[in-house]
């Protein structure tokens, strides 16, 4: 589909014709991606965390970063990456497309009596009209992606919200690993998805996910963050993160010297922002640390023992914290990633902390090699060589330097008699938004109209139709 220029009028939706302006929604634990089908990347990327402030939910980067009186940061997903708080998830998803893509639909309530109380004809009718703002997707079919382990009732809930509340004309939902495999040109693949909340491995065969092969653990991006936290806490001397929002002014200091910064006080608030807000802001510094410092130990020599010593001497990398404190990190920046391969590299979080509760020490079968083994063992013997020859790596956390090469090395060592080939999209955007991009392309095809579940079908068969049609 050609991109719209400012001169073009937006096309009207022709759901059964070629020009379908479908919305593609790819919800994740860390961010919610939304955009028009046919585009190269999602236009709207909203953090899935939201600010809870004075009994209201606030969404969007520019809003939730503001320190406020007693503000709390929450997330509508469980740590499994599936929706827990439907009311908020619905608001968040709607925000992700209504704020940047579709806009607020003009309705009678807004146009006629918003500013004139006397013009309200009768309250009941006015309320019914106001309901109309709910019909946010009246002109747009909705294509969604979902985690491989999304329970049936969550899929049914999603179609119900899309078709009933948002009045979308049609709906489709697809497993994200299938979309990732397709976008790499594979209909049979072993997909390793390293997301924020979960690390998952699943086999896709002829475009279908093999349900019993789905394995996963908590070793995702958030787990890596918790490892960085415990590394900083056990550092000598311990390092405290003062996130950007706290720093008023700072002076440069030499490496390893205490920070010379003036921190903000939040006396103007009755209560300072809550711990969850502070953690969310810390997380931004941690993300920067991940991007700058983390690296995967190359396969060949084992990291524990030998590699650790080499890394300590040869691979130091500096990092500056928001308050100006700076330090070089050497073996630690490898050790943190190493936990994804070797459970014994786990550094325990301080006892009693949130991290210790949420991110316990992993078992060896929860690491990447462990999960791959479990997954492969669940698959037919004849299928195994095909899967190992097409391993696809996706997910934002997979962008750690050297990770795909290391996985290639590990799997080759585990399966010496089979050809192993690990594939990861070269462009970071394709790995971050792999399943969104896949959905965008499929949903923009003119011929896809026969796949959509239309509103009429939904009304005839009920929500259970989603299980029959979106396999």
């Amino acid at each position: 589909m050609a991109a719209l220029t400012s001169k073009d009028e937006p096309r009207t939706a022709e759901y059964a014709g070629d020009e379908v302006s479908a919305i593609v929604l790819d919800p994740g634990y860390a961010s919610t991606r939304a955009g028009f089908a046919g585009e190269d990347a999602p236009k709207s990327i909203v953090p899935s965390n939201y600010a809870f402030y004075q009994d209201a939910c606030l969404f969007g980067d520019h809003v939730i970063d503001v320190p406020r009186d007693n503000v709390e940061i929450r997330n509508p997903y469980s740590r499994d990456g599936i929706v827990e708080d439907w009311d908020t998830a619905e608001k968040l998803w709607k925000y992700s497309f209504a704020s940047k893509l579709t806009g607020i639909r003009p309705n009678k309530a807004l146009q006629e009596w918003l500013n004139d109380v006397n013009a309200v004809p009768n309250l009941q009718k006015a309320m019914a009209d106001a309901e109309d703002t709910e019909r946010a997707l009246e002109d747009h079919p909705l294509f969604m992606s979902e985690p491989n382990w999304n329970p049936i009732k969550n899929r049914e809930k999603a179609i119900e919200i899309a078709l009933e509340k948002w009045a979308a004309p049609a709906f489709y939902i697809s497993k994200s690993s299938v979309l990732s495999a397709f976008s790499m040109g594979k209909s049979t693949a072993l997909v390793i998805d390293i997301g924020a909340s979960q690390l998952s491995v699943a086999a896709v065969h002829d475009g279908m996910i093999l349900r019993k092969s789905i394995t996963r653990s908590h070793l995702g991006g958030n787990y890596i963050s918790s490892q960085i936290r415990s590394m900083l806490a056990t550092h000598d001397p311990p390092i405290t993160i003062n996130p950007h929002y706290m720093v008023k002014a700072k002076q440069p200091v030499d490496a390893g010297q205490p920070a010379n910064a003036i921190l903000k006080t939040f006396d103007q608030f009755k209560q300072p922002p809550q711990t969850s807000y502070h953690r969310y802001q810390e997380e931004k510094t941690i993300l920067e640390f991940k991007e700058v410092c983390l690296q995967t130990w190359a396969s060949g020599t084992s990291f524990r023992g030998q590699g650790e010593a080499i890394a300590r001497e040869q691979y130091a990398h500096p990092f500056e914290f928001p308050d100006g404190y700076n330090q070089t990190f050497s073996s630690d920046r490898f050790k943190i990633v190493e936990t994804l391969f070797d459970a014994q590299c786990h550094s325990p979080s301080p006892a009693g902390s949130l991290d210790a509760q949420y991110y316990p020490a992993p078992e060896q079968n929860q690491t990447i090699p462990g999960l791959v083994k479990l997954c492969i063992n669940q698959c037919d013997v004849d299928l195994r060589p095909m899967l190992l020859a097409s391993v696809v790596i996706t997910g934002s956390a997979s962008l750690i330097k050297g990770l795909p090469d290391r996985i290639q090395g590990e799997l080759t060592r585990m399966y010496p008699s089979t050809k192993v080939r690990v594939n990861a999209a070269g462009m970071p955007v394709e790995r971050k938004f792999g399943s969104w991009i896949g959905g965008s392309i499929v949903a923009s095809l003119g011929t896809f109209h026969q796949m959509w579940i239309s509103k009429k079908e939904y009304e005839e068969h009920g929500a259970s139709i989603v299980e029959k049609r979106c396999k």
């Binding site: 790499m184 594979k186 209909s187 049979t188 097409s390």
Partner: protein, 152 residues
């Protein structure tokens, strides 16, 4: 499974049936997705017995944009069994999508339409997924077709 919903042009099936009959019929068929992205059509039919000719053709397909174009193909893999047990042939369904030099759009469209074509062709004996030219080696194809029992 999010299949693209493309249709299969009837010529695809008739060319396949001709190949299936053997006896001097085509040796290979290359399929592509039409430019309007509505159906799968026959791109090329060939009689050359030399596998390398077929392989070169598959690898050399280009999009209008200059990027490599993916293809589906049917190839009649013939081989001689060991111990003089005679000639055999197997019809292979090949999906060739070079992941390094194609656009994400064509990768996605070809991968998600594959099942449609595969299901339309009755009598495929083996499936082969290749994602770079190195995965189109005759030796590998032969090994898979004969389960390692071929002599040539």
């Amino acid at each position: 499974m999010p299949v693209s919903g493309l249709s299969v042009n009837p010529d695809c099936v008739s060319a396949f049936n001709e190949l299936k009959l053997g006896r001097g019929g085509p040796k290979y068929i290359i399929y592509k997705i039409s430019d309007d992205q509505k159906e799968i059509v026959v791109d090329e039919i060939g009689n050359e017995a030399d596998y390398d000719v077929f392989r070169e053709k598959l690898v050399g397909k280009k999009e209008k944009s200059g990027k490599d174009r993916p293809s589906y193909a049917i190839y009649d893999v013939e081989f001689e069994l060991e111990g003089g047990e005679g000639k055999r042939s197997k019809i292979a369904f090949i999906t060739y999508i070079n992941q390094d030099s194609t656009g994400v759009k064509s990768r996605m469209v070809y991968a998600s339409s594959r099942e449609t074509l595969k299901n339309a062709l009755n009598g495929i004996a083996m499936n082969w997924q290749a994602n770079d030219p190195g995965e189109l080696e005759w030796a590998d194809l032969l090994k898979e077709a004969s389960k390692g029992k071929a002599v040539s």
